[in-house]
Symmetry: C2
Subunit: 217 residues, 2 copies
């Protein structure tokens, strides 16, 4: 039925020529978003970085916006997968704060969140992009909510501060801290905050499990 050589429909991976070109364009798009911001990310700047003709973007992705969404998907999937493994098994607040700090440091160094932040900001300019980006943030809200529920358990805190609301705040705070750290070129204030959160989490643990005081040395 299919002609010999007809490309598989597989979008993510593959070894065919098309797949290789697509991968190169996606990688170049990620790097360009990180280094030049949304406004500096054009078909030409991406193609230049990839060493390819800019027309290929329109052949393989239809538009620059579509390529950027593919880039966001690529980064998002990779991160979500890794981080879910990292926080699985975390069942107390202070270790969750540790994990969160580790994630923040890693994201900042690798520039992962920059891609997301630039896309969010760019959504104001590119018609139709908003809902697409919004949908790609949804999994992160769910991830944060699950992690918080697992770490806090069913303590009374959950009733005054529902995990769902806190998860929204955490995602927002995370984006804001990244925004400011990147702008100032100084992650110091953000990292100081994680230290404070750690202290607070330990205090919380001491309060919620008063029947298990510190072991004697």
């Amino acid at each position: 039925m299919a002609k010999a050589g007809a490309p598989s429909k597989a979008v993510a991976n593959g070894t065919g020529r098309s797949a290789v070109t697509r991968r190169q364009l996606v990688d170049a798009a990620i790097a360009t978003l990180q280094l030049e911001g949304y406004t500096g990310t054009s078909a030409r700047s991406i193609a230049r970085r990839a060493g390819l003709n800019q027309g290929l973007i329109f052949y393989h992705f239809g538009s620059v916006a579509n390529l950027l969404l593919a880039a966001l998907d690529s980064v998002s999937q990779e991160r979500l997968q890794r981080y879910e493994a990292e926080v699985s098994g975390v069942t107390n607040p202070s270790r969750l704060v540790d994990a969160a700090e580790e994630i923040f440091r890693n994201d900042l160094k690798a520039g992962y969140v920059t891609v997301l932040v630039e896309m969010i900001a760019g959504a104001s300019s590119t018609p139709g992009l908003g809902p697409e980006v919004s949908a790609r943030i949804q999994p992160w809200r769910g991830f944060a909510q699950s992690a918080i529920e697992a770490a806090v358990g069913d303590s009374p805190l959950g009733s005054v501060l529902p995990a769902k609301d806190v998860a929204h705040a955490v995602v927002a705070l995370y984006l804001g801290l990244e925004l400011l750290s990147h702008l100032d070129g100084d992650p110091g204030p953000a990292l100081a905050l994680f230290a404070r959160a750690k202290g607070l989490a330990e205090l919380l643990e001491a309060l919620t499990t008063p029947s298990t005081p510190k072991e004697a040395p």
Copy 2:
């Protein structure tokens, strides 16, 4: 010494022709940033909205980036002045949360923070813009810190959570919530958060002033 008709050096206000044109361009720049985002904000799009020739931007401001910084200054000064009046005299946490929510609602409706967020995001693309934007956020950190110190006083909470660190978090959270509210076109989750914060603040007040329990009805 000066020729008759030599324009005053006053940048902010004035009734001369130059001042009027500048004002129109600043206002159009604000509106364009809000409605079309950083990428959609070009000399042409601003001038079109103002009904002026785009060359005027370069005559009066030297570059598009300079006009955008003037727009940011205009919005920032107006907001800071108004909000400082609003929180002056607030000396307890729950009323500070009320004020913060009012500010958030107002900002969201008027699109004030959008201007700032777009400029932050755009700073990645435009060389030299980062430090300028960063400097214009500084007053807001100070504003938040003062408000928190005034509301929390010298309670023991201040030692585990210093006002300076909290202020940084508040600014970041504020930007993040604005980012998400705007993206989703739904301020619901953010507003729900203010309600939770209010509950928490009231709880805090009850704990820190246990000698003054609720009056009997």
